[in-house]
Amino acid sequence: MTSVLYDVPGPKARRVSLIGSVIGTVLILGLAAWIVMTLAQQGIFEGRRWEIFIRADVWRLLGNGIIATLSAAAIAAVIAFPLGLLLCLLRISLVDWIRIPTRVVLEFLRGMPVVLMMLFVLLVFGTNSFIAVVAGLVLYNAAIFAEIIRAGIQSLPKGQREAGLAIGLTSFQSRLLIELPQAIRRMMPSLVAQLVVLLKDTSLGYIVAYGELLRAVQVMADFLGNAFLFPVFFVAAGIYIAINICVSRLAVWIERRGSKKAAGGVAKAVPAEAPTAK
């Protein structure tokens, strides 16, 4: 990928690099082993603490948590994306009284912690916790999606818009038909990365007592007793990482597919990853 940064290593450099790699790997494995042993000494890996995972009700609760997490994330994503598109179009409108207020709204949404928006929706609109979580996620992520797509549109060559206008499209038609589709494709990796963020942010639903995965884990640790804190948290961390890595892989796959089609020459045309965040 960026091997252009250094010469192909010669035999000596390769040897040094190999030795360094071996030492580094040994060090890391050693550290991992030490961590596992230290925790084991404190009885964290005792069978009795892990036996709970053969219980059906434990898995049912975890399963419900996973479903709650995924469904809040999916619904929020499905609403946030079109809303983000709309906000993006308003944000780049040529009309001042549309563009400027939109910009203010976007800055506001971007600057608020998601937890705060969830809590606010819950208390002020008296919704249930599911709606509060989804609303909080939608508001924040729509703003981020809008910014990502806008960055994509700005990264397009000027000629695209000019050509659109030249064949008689209105400004709006050119945005919609010419620029947006290209921008979305170009920004796919960032958009998917933001999806991962959205998925992780469902865990903030604890603030409104939404029964997502992390909350399920907490309820479980509280109910079963603190001895089970570590096992349930390790399992939860594993589940989260697995789900999110699947989504991230999707991003990588899309990036690869996209870059095959993109004209070569300059290093990848992916504009600096736009607002990631959280």
């Binding site: 709970i52 219980r55 009700d57 609760l61 907490q218 309820v219 109910f223 079963l224 007793g225 603190n226």
Partner: protein, 291 residues
């Protein structure tokens, strides 16, 4: 996570009988179904409305051991929950027709005001500020603040001993306020009381403070690690039942029922089925406050 509330004391806790830590020992799992009364109420009262609807929405805590804690099956159990069932039964509503919802730190008053719940039974301390927006029946229980320390700790035996020391409690809870304002402790704020256990075990804090009953639950589960600093409590926190402000008829009616529960023994039974697994002596119903 949430910051909850206020809880406190009463009852002393005999250092928990060393019940072996078993999965089911926690939470004190009594699930009883009180007999449903067939009652009739004066037209226009909240009781009549609930009775007709055949259902009642009750808000409770889902993370307070012994009082309101949700089990693996998603149903809350605890003393608060039992009291809720008793009241519902008197309204002619069977336990399975109660709609439970979790009330978290900030939403108890808004939930009552918005009518999202009919009553809140959630280790909900009666105080004047809250009385300005909601009304309270009860108290049905009086808790008191205590301190929990590591088993080998001998330096902390009373609240005065924590001056300048780190004490863990829940953000915004009444015990947290008391230990800081009155006894000069340095607060280490946690999201839940159970979150305080690891820092205590690791000696990153010297004590954990909240209501004696909750601490007793922790000590009961790990008698080799923790103990109560003292059997004495140092505040009084009356738990009330929150309801819509100025619904005096309903409030008086609940107060009457509470007194009836104390008389017919169902109050004692509710205790024994739940918190009684840890605190053997059932409390007396405090004098209800008919303000």
């Amino acid at each position: 996570m949430k910051s909850l509330i206020t809880r406190r004391k009463s009852l002393l806790v005999a250092a928990g009988a060393a019940v072996a830590l078993t999965l089911s020992a926690c939470g004190g799992g009594g699930t009883t179904t009180p007999p449903v009364a067939s009652a009739s109420f004066a037209a226009g009262t909240t009781m009549e409305k609930l009775n007709k609807a055949g259902t009642i929405k009750i808000g409770t805590k889902y993370d307070q051991p012994l009082f309101g804690q949700v089990g693996l099956d998603g149903k809350p159990v605890g003393f608060d929950v039992e009291i809720g069932k008793l009241i519902a039964a008197k309204l002619g509503i069977p336990a399975d027709k109660i709609e439970w919802s979790e009330t978290v730190s900030a939403n108890r008053e808004p939930f009552i005001e918005q009518g999202k719940v009919d009553i809140v039974i959630a280790t909900y301390t009666i105080n004047d500020k809250r009385k300005q927006v909601v009304s309270f029946a009860g108290p049905y229980y009086e808790a008191g603040q205590a301190l929990m320390v590591n088993k080998d700790n001998t330096t902390i035996t009373k609240p005065e001993d924590v001056k300048g020391k780190k004490v863990c409690s829940v953000t915004g809870s009444t015990p947290a306020g008391t230990i800081v304002d009155k006894y000069g402790a340095v607060l280490v704020p946690a999201a839940t009381y159970s979150a305080c256990l690891e820092p205590l075990r690791n000696k990153q804090v010297e004590a954990v403070t909240t209501d004696n009953v909750i601490l007793a639950g922790f000590v009961d589960k790990e008698p080799d690690a923790f103990k109560l600093a003292s059997d004495q409590t140092f505040t009084k926190e009356p738990y009330g039942i929150g309801l819509k402000k100025d619904d005096t008829t309903f409030r008086n009616w609940i107060n009457d029922q509470l007194e009836a529960f104390a008389k017919d023994g169902s109050y004692k039974k509710a205790w024994e089925d739940t918190a009684g697994s840890v605190i053997k002596t059932a409390p007396e119903l405090p004098a209800v406050d008919r303000y």
